[in-house]
């Protein structure tokens, strides 16, 4: 690999200068922008998780081997694979090109990314259900939809809720990154701060992101423990 070790050695003093630029973090002078960015990230996260989960559920049902016939199964699995292969940032680049800068592109990106993640894990959970209960419901002469509602849904419900909360947490984290390529949210604010060499503001934004992510992770851990 090509590593310019002289440049790396130069990193010490550069890091010192860089980090002295970070301190003290400046929360005040751009607080309005930081706050607006955070709110935008939050809206994107909540809306994208809700939409993503809503779209994922039929795809997950179709992608479960024990529920869906083979053609439907392969079609749904293909949707999941496409959505999971590309990194959120690459997807964001495309949606920014299609829909223009701003939170709408971010919303679509996160929804798309949620689809692959949530549908795949939920489908795996549906495949792992207890078949005895499913057969018992079938034996009562229930229709297909009734069978889904009474045999499958109660068994996957705890995991479905846990996954949704987990994805909410991931989406917030990702919303901090996709802004760098123009998809709105706190990432856009962070990128602006870097481009203006306002490292003290960037430090403040990073600290805020870390705090929120830690808090979100803690809360989502609690919720997941409770439902599972």
């Amino acid at each position: 690999m090509d590593i310019d070790w002289l440049r790396v050695a130069d990193g010490g003093p550069r890091a010192a200068r860089f980090f002295s630029g970070f301190f003290p973090p400046d929360f005040i002078s751009r607080w309005d922008a930081i706050f607006a960015g955070l709110l935008e990230s939050l809206w994107m996260t909540v809306a994208a998780t809700a939409l993503g989960v809503l779209i994922s559920i039929p795809v997950a049902v179709g992608g479960a081997r024990n529920v869906a016939p083979a053609p439907v199964y392969y079609f749904c699995r293909a949707i999941m694979a496409v959505s999971r292969t590309f990194h959120e940032v690459l997807i964001a680049i495309f949606f920014v090109k299609l829909f223009g800068f701003g939170p709408f592109a971010g919303l679509i990106t996160l929804t798309f990314a949620t689809l692959g993640f949530y549908a795949k894990l939920l489908a795996e959970d549906i495949e792992a259900i207890d078949p005895a209960q499913a057969e018992a419901i079938q034996a009562t002469g229930a229709g297909w939809l009734q069978w889904l509602d009474y045999a499958i849904r109660p068994q996957v419900r705890p995991r479905a809720i846990g996954l949704a909360v987990y994805r909410l947490d991931i989406n917030f984290r990702e919303s901090a990154v996709i802004g760098i390529v123009g998809a709105g949210g706190i990432g856009a604010t962070l990128n602006t701060a870097f481009d203006r060499y306002e490292f003290d503001t960037a430090a403040a934004i990073l600290l805020v992101i870390i705090l929120i992510v830690m808090a979100a992770e803690y809360v989502s851990g609690l919720i997941r423990q409770r439902v599972q």
Binding site: D4, V8, F18, M44, L90, L98, I209
Partner: protein, 270 residues
Amino acid sequence: MADTHQTIPQWKLRTRKQDLVVWASWLAGVMAVILCLSLISEKTIWVFVLSAPQEAADLGSRMVPPDWPYILQLGRPLWDTLNIATIGTAAALLISVPVAFCAARNTTPSRAVVRPIALFIIAASRSINSLIWALLLVVIVGPGVFAGVLAIAFRSIGFCGKLLYEAIEEIDVEPVEAVQSTGASGAQVLTYGVVPQVMPAFAGISVFRWDINIRESTILGLVGAGGIGLQLNASINNLDWSRVAVILLVILATVIVSEWLSAKIRAALT
């Protein structure tokens, strides 16, 4: 006599109060989502959104046919990307092992001091995305592969550390006690009592993270941290979409191969 069947209480899943709570929380949730959507739509320039079909057609026409000869120039960047992911994962594993042992309740040298520090390292590393790490590291160590390796490593320490310390906390205490009862020292207890039990988890975690890191390292170039992302960024900035198409196909193939490989290895491990 005719109204006996009306007095039989009908079985219900929930009481009326529970019904109301469920209904109210659905209402609150739906309203929150609608509120979020309306706030987003306020910030959206709908003219640009509505032109999406034309944009998509335009993009499609520029991406097809892909600039196939360009693939010959992608060997080196792809090799760099694989190196960033692999070396970054290896470095992260090296650091995450001691951190995990310090963070696990049953092996930490001190619960009051060392454990919180280790947990903080794990949480801090996990909350910053590798792209943001790369953004910082490019300024410090300069653009290039090294910044990418460090960015991947810093992000992975938390991930591997967390999964590993959870695996350590879940071990069976009996073998540990058996080794202890032979009069083994602390280090010997670790080597013979704990390490063999977490080895399979460790191997699984490293392959799993390597697979994720391949995906992550494809984008680090966007901020200058080496790999195929550099070419991608250059092509996007030049609006050279036929090259972008080739790069995306190469990334797609790489990710699919690495995911297949990782699934095979993990299946063989369990």
